[in-house]
């Protein structure tokens, strides 16, 4: 029953950069389902900008692997969603195409960087979307907009076609209103792709189960301490109690090295950004470079004019953290921190099956409210990226009418288990 989906969203939140009014679809597991794609995921024939002027007008000649798989399963690719420029931010406010607003409260940010995808799902414009997550960019907006978002295990989803700003941390992942839909979407996009050398052939083929009896949940003290809004801590603690009520066992754990996570993530992201974004020079794509000038001068001109302030700042930072005299102090230290964090999580996962805590330390805020350098990386989300482990955010109540996210992290390649835990909680509080 292939056909064309008529898609004309009432996009009050500015969730989309590009909407495809007539989207073709086919047969398969996602037949006829409208799926929105974060605008840093390549779509053949559809403009892909990463919310940056420097890619305005760029039309990829190829589909990202995840997009290929969606099409194979019949999904209708209805549009490209707004984000922080190149995925750097947690507000979707650094987009060159204007900020996205939070559908729950248009005065507030939707979170980021995959804020357009979260808002499109939360506003009911699409049932599901693909986001990307290098330091919390799926989970933060999922939490702020009251939807479900999964950052898969690193290596579970092909990054081929993902215009990563930090490829060693970043994964494409599903965002939807229900855990079940997140599970449906991840089962389509995990098929093996030899073009991503970091990918393992471990497709997800699982139906969520609400059975959490005998499950051991670790409660990290670091996730409920300083910097975390008390009301969020309480709300999340209540949610964990619900899981306990279902037969799960909880135990306090400590992951001391997570205090390094935001700084380590910031350095690794910026370092990779400085290299990944260097190719945007206006020669092969994007706004045309002035070919009459010497190359450095011409590149500087096109990059100054078309990269936003946040992107430029991070390119500068990453150039510094990799440069002679600084690489040892920053880049090497960040890698060492990452290794410690990975080991700490492995140690904790010897004793518990999953780790649960809040997704974000605050609820959705107003634009401009949060300006400290801490906004550079998600305090509570970045550890999962550094450790490469799966992490899901599922809505677990509200504070002042604004959604709160419960974050569940699991062992590498145990995405099934974090989905089950989220599903168990969701089913219990719905019924």
């Amino acid at each position: 029953m292939a056909g064309i989906l008529d898609f004309s969203p009432d996009d009050r939140c500015n969730a989309f950069i590009t909407a495809c009014t007539g989207a073709a679809f086919g047969d398969g597991a996602l037949a006829g389902i409208a799926v929105a794609i974060n605008d840093n995921i390549s779509t053949a024939g559809i403009q892909t900008t990463c919310a940056s002027r420097i890619l305005e007008g760029y039309i990829p000649p190829y589909d990202a692997h995840a997009v290929e798989l969606l099409k194979q399963e019949g999904a209708a690719i209805v549009g490209k969603t707004n984000m922080d420029e190149f995925g750097m931010g947690s507000t979707t406010g650094t987009s060159a195409f204007g900020p996205t607003r939070n559908p729950i409260d248009p005065e507030r940010v939707p979170g980021g960087s995959s804020g357009g995808s979260a808002a499109a799902v939360a506003a009911g414009l699409v049932p599901m979307a693909l986001g990307t997550d290098a330091d919390g960019s799926i989970r933060c907006p999922a939490a702020f907009c009251g939807i479900v978002g999964l950052k898969p295990t690193y290596g579970r989803v092909s990054r081929y076609g993902l215009i990563a700003h930090a490829g060693s941390l970043e994964q494409i992942g599903p965002m939807a209103r229900t855990v079940e839909d997140v599970s449906r979407l991840i089962s389509v996009i995990t098929r093996y792709d030899p073009r991503d050398s970091m990918m393992l052939d471990q497709p997800y083929s699982h139906r969520p189960s609400a059975d959490v009896s005998d499950l051991k949940i670790g409660i990290p003290t670091e996730y409920f301490g300083e910097g975390v809004d008390m009301r969020i801590a309480t709300t999340v603690r209540d949610a964990i109690d619900v899981l306990e009520g279902l037969g799960a066992e909880t135990t306090p754990v400590s992951i001391p090295s997570v205090r390094y996570a935001p700084a380590a993530c910031c350095v690794i992201c910026a370092s990779e950004v400085s290299s990944n974004l260097a190719r945007f020079d206006g020669v092969r794509y994007g706004p045309a470079v002035d070919t009459r000038k010497p190359w450095h001068e011409a590149y500087r001109e096109v990059r100054q004019a078309n990269l936003g302030p946040e992107a430029r700042l991070r390119i500068m930072l990453g150039t510094l953290t990799l440069s002679a005299g600084y690489a040892g102090k920053y880049y090497a230290k960040a890698l060492a921190a990452r290794q410690r964090i990975t080991r700490d999580f492995e140690r904790v996962f010897c004793d518990v099956d999953v780790i649960a805590g809040p997704t974000t330390p605050t609820v959705a805020f107003r634009p401009g409210e949060k300006v400290s350098p801490l906004s550079i990386a998600g305090t509570l989300t970045a550890p999962a990226n550094l450790a490469g482990i799966p992490a899901i955010s599922v809505p677990c109540g509200d504070v002042d009418g604004l959604p709160v996210g419960l974050q569940v992290m699991g062992r590498r390649f145990e995405d099934e288990r974090v989905i089950d835990v989220a599903y168990a909680y969701e089913q219990e509080v719905r019924s």
């Binding site: 840093n40 995921i41 390549s42 892909t48 990463c50 890619l55 760029y58 990829p60 000649p61 190829y62 990202a64 990054r159 081929y160 076609g161 993902l162 215009i163 990563a164 930090a166 490829g167 060693s168 030899p194 073009r195 991503d196 050398s197 970091m198 370092s271 990779e272 400085s274 290299s275 260097a278 190719r279 020079d281 020669v283 092969r284 794509y285 070919t291 009459r292 190359w295 450095h296 590149y299 150039t319 990799l322 440069s323 002679a324 690489a327 880049y331």
Partner: protein, 471 residues
């Protein structure tokens, strides 16, 4: 003043596809930008995937040069901006290359064996090709067909002492690579060299952009002279990078064009590590040039010089072994001393020469059917035909057609008699002790026989004939 030279050689590996994508490497005759995909164009989101054969080729070289393959090596990004570099970084290897510490044996300027130490070999991707457009508005045109071609960079210690040694090193390296079948020597730009050269006690100069191995000797010779002249005038040699202008045979300073480099190497997060040291034991190396040279001397009894020449090119060595036959020393002489020169003169390769014809020619020479001189004439006829793509006649047919068989018997005697009779003055001079007069007379007979007579034999007969005339 000792000259100190070290080389960095970039070799295009003869794989079917590029280093990190499936685009074909066979683009030489194709239009620009027709062998490109998202990966080698550096399109946003594309990822590299390593070509296994390139790694195998690299390991083959490492084993042949007796190197230590690292237990774990990795790819790194070298970050810099240039219009031929699609991602603004080159995927290469930095502090963990494929292999380290090897050797290559060459001849020094005195003809003695010497060892050049190899520091390291590593894999990296070739950038695209730039065409510079001059004129009122200057700009570049880029062809990305070359972008992503696998390169093996081979770095030597500063062990060479003259431009000639550097050239011999490159010849030897090229031969080894051809023997290993990892390199296509006919490919334009397939081997490119950066050279470091200094005079002892002075600063080091890097000469970049030497795109032919013959250019290396030229560039380095120019540098030695330039640096010597500076020192003679009491000036210092500046530590700098210079570019070799192939057409003009000179190097020019690129000062001001290059900024202080900080490549900000870091491990490429898109590629996992290589753990291939264990593969080395399973690699079967072919017989390498030095071993083959020694075998030629032993098996065929040819001289060291002939053995070196014959094994200095894989196809030449194969050709020789095909035609060595019953008289390998004669074959070696003809191939190394005569055939090669004739080929060079015609800028022909050995591949164009039909071995069967040469075998026949050698047989005819050995049987005394023709003289050496007539043999050369036959050879030239054949090579001309091959070079001009005409059907190549067999030697016997050429001899028959041209009447080149060795003059003998009556024909010979009457010719000598006629020449002696026609040149009484020369005969007189010879009798008066002028040796040169004999040469003249022999030359006259040679002319008449068009080389069909053996000059030494002729000399004896003419001289005897004059003496007989005396009696």
């Amino acid at each position: 003043m000792k000259t100190i030279i070290g080389l960095e050689v970039h070799v295009q590996l003869a794989t079917a596809t590029k280093l990190f994508c499936g685009c074909s490497t066979d683009y030489q005759d194709d239009n620009p930008n027709t062998h490109c995909c998202p990966t080698c164009l550096g399109l946003p989101g594309a990822l590299p995937c390593l070509n296994k054969r390139a790694v195998e080729y690299g390991l083959r070289v490492a084993k042949a040069l007796d190197m230590k393959v690292l237990e774990e090596s990795e790819f790194a990004r070298k970050n810099y901006f240039y219009p031929d570099l699609v991602k603004a970084y080159q995927i290469t290897q930095d502090d963990r290359p494929l292999a380290v510490e090897g050797t290559i044996e060459i001849e020094d300027d005195q003809g003695h064996e010497k060892i050049v130490r190899i520091t390291r070999v590593h894999l990296e991707e070739d950038p695209g090709r730039l065409v510079h457009v001059a004129g009122a508005s200057k700009y570049s045109l880029v062809d990305y067909n070359r972008s992503g071609i696998p390169l093996l960079e081979i770095v030597t210690e500063p062990d060479m002492r003259s431009p000639q040694e550097a050239r011999r090193f490159l010849n030897k390296l090229r031969t080894i690579l051809e023997y290993l079948e990892v390199f296509d020597g006919d490919r334009e730009g397939g081997l490119r060299v950066d050279a470091n050269i200094s005079l002892e006690g002075s600063e080091r100069v890097e000469v970049k952009n030497i795109s032919s191995y013959k250019g290396v000797e030229k560039a380095l010779t120019f540098e030695v002279t330039r640096q010597r002249n500076l020192l003679r005038r009491g000036l210092a040699v500046a530590r700098e990078t210079r570019h070799f202008m192939e057409g003009r045979g000179i190097t020019t300073s690129s000062r001001g064009k290059e900024e202080a480099h900080d490549y900000r190497y870091f491990p490429d997060p898109d590629l996992g590590p290589l753990r291939v040291a264990g593969w080395v034991a399973g690699i079967d190396l072919p017989e390498l040039p030095t071993a083959r040279r020694d075998r030629f001397m032993e098996q065929y009894g040819v001289s060291l010089n002939h053995a070196r020449t014959l094994t200095g090119d894989l196809r030449l060595a194969d050709f020789y072994e095909e035609i060595a036959g019953t008289d390998p020393v004669l074959a070696a002489t003809w191939v190394a001393d005569i055939l090669l020169g004739e080929l060079n003169y015609r800028t022909m390769g050995i591949a164009a020469v039909p071995p069967g014809h040469i075998t026949e020619l050698l047989d005819l020479l050995r049987a005394g059917t023709i003289t050496d001189r007539a043999g050369v004439q036959v050879l030239r006829e054949m090579l001309d035909a091959c070079a001009e793509d005409r059907p190549c006649e067999r030697p016997a047919a050429i001899i028959e057609r041209e009447g080149l068989s060795r003059a003998s018997g009556d024909e010979f005697t009457s010719l000598v008699r006629a020449v002696v009779a026609a040149n009484p003055q020369a005969v007189e001079d010879y009798r008066n002790g002028k040796e040169g007069a004999l040469n003249f007379l022999v030359g006259q007979v040679m002319k008449e026989t068009r080389g069909r007579a053996d000059p030494r034999e002729l000399r004896r007969i003419v001289s005897e004939s004059i003496k007989m005339g005396e009696v």
